[in-house]
Symmetry: C2
Subunit: 237 residues, 2 copies
DNA sequence: CGTCCTCTTGACCTTAGTCAATCACAGTGG
DNA sequence: CCACTGTGATTGACTAAGGTCAAGAGGACG
């Protein structure tokens, strides 16, 4: 499988961290606990599933996905992280997922052994894990119970801030309820996140386009014409 | 939908905690932090999705599932808890799942506000959340990428201690690799956990029976004839 | 013995997957 | 500047896996 080979090549040739600190200031919850800030290129691997877990990471800027592979090459992207998310914590001594950047990213890295030492760190961790758990629960519903259209609609809605949630206030302006999205994911990555094939994702996107719900400026850049009508297709209404 | 109505009836009529302490001694990680121990009947609801989150719970004995419902009645069981698991922590002020017992259970309950106060509690929490996260990641792979047979095989394998994992040593005795399981879940609950329909679960179980991999003594009492051959069907080999 | 409930089985249908051809676009090199 | 190549995305035709609907079997219980 193409992406698998690419990743393996990355490991040795491309994806190694540059080790320099970010040039622009970026807030990090973990920076108070020492460690270093590292920049990663797009599609660089931070760590591999099965590697020994040695560090705790915080995504400071950019976007990172965590995925698991089955031996025959099937892939499931289990989380798509946003700035502020903490990752790398493992219940065994090995990482249970591979962490790969979707865009160039800045990551704050500290030693895992710090975790036992700091009370404040534990508190931050609890909050972060709880919120990731919540996302994972929602995602389980998506993977287990939603149709292809509902999955894609849910995926797009998650990229719209303050909309589609329980406390969604609806559109501010009924007549002007559009939104511009930059996905930062290929069709393959979206498919592996939503438990679909690349062809199905493509077909659903084309269909939404045909029905006037979205406009596709670039494969990667999508305009939602009416957020509310897309939200109606997520299965949560 | 039948189970939905049943749950709603339970809420008022059956499922309320009896409030008595367990008669037999049971170790609990949370018992040091005060609170009370509560016994629940089979299919009792500990809390509902959307209810205000006020308490932190530890399953001391028995079995509990966490599930989410879509407005049209589709259900996804997102976790099946075992003794020692901690639940009830929410990222908002509302529970994101319904918690319902699968068997009669004993639950240790403490006030959520305790969490901020105790360092030791935070530490316990971090460990528990991390391990639940690991399970959720695996489950995402199951829901997103596995076939019906692989899902059922994985489900059954998870009920066999020390087998099927990464460090699985294989059968101790090649000729005598059987195992007896008590599921404690209806076909509907299994289906909702695995993202399948009740009919598909039933068909897969019948098929495994026909192929001699399992023996079905009762609907929820299954004997695995050869653990290793079932493990071969989980998709992880 | 009848009722209720869950589970099983069969027939049929729908959804999404598979396979393959084509398109679009960016980068490369003559 | 433009043909060539490679990659990712789209589309179409077909297939297969699992869902739907309906009927019947098997237990538990009053």
């Amino acid at each position: 499988m193409a992406y698998l080979e690419a990743s393996v090549i990355d490991h040795g040739a491309v994806a190694r961290p540059t080790g320099r600190t970010p040039c622009s200031p970026a807030k990090s919850n973990l920076s108070d606990f020492g460690g270093k800030s590292t920049a990663y290129e797009t599609h660089a691997v931070v760590y591999y599933e099965g590697d020994p877990a040695k560090r705790l990471y915080e995504l400071v800027r950019g976007s990172i996905m965590l995925y698991k592979l089955l031996p025959d090459g099937r892939r499931q992207v289990v989380e798509v992280l946003r700035p502020g998310d903490i990752f790398g914590l493992a219940s065994t001594d090995e990482n249970d997922c591979t962490a790969e950047t979707l865009t160039s990213s800045i990551v704050q890295e500290i030693d895992l052994r710090q975790v036992e030492r700091s009370q404040e760190l534990q508190s931050i961790l609890t909050k972060s894990l709880t919120s990731q758990m919540h996302v994972l629960h929602e995602h389980a519903v998506l993977l287990g119970r939603k149709s292809a259209v509902e999955r894609v609609a849910s995926f797009l809605m998650h990229l719209v801030p303050d909309r589609g949630g329980l406390g969604c206030a609806g559109p501010e302006d009924e007549e002007n309820d559009g939104f511009d999205l930059q996905l930062h994911m290929t069709r393959q990555e979206i498919a592996d996140y939503l438990g679909l094939t690349i062809e199905t994702v493509s077909r659903v996107v084309s269909d939404l386009k045909r029905r006037g719900v979205i406009r596709v400026d670039k494969a990667d850049k999508i305009h939602l014409n009416k957020v509310c009508s897309l939200c109606q297709m997520t299965g949560i209404h």
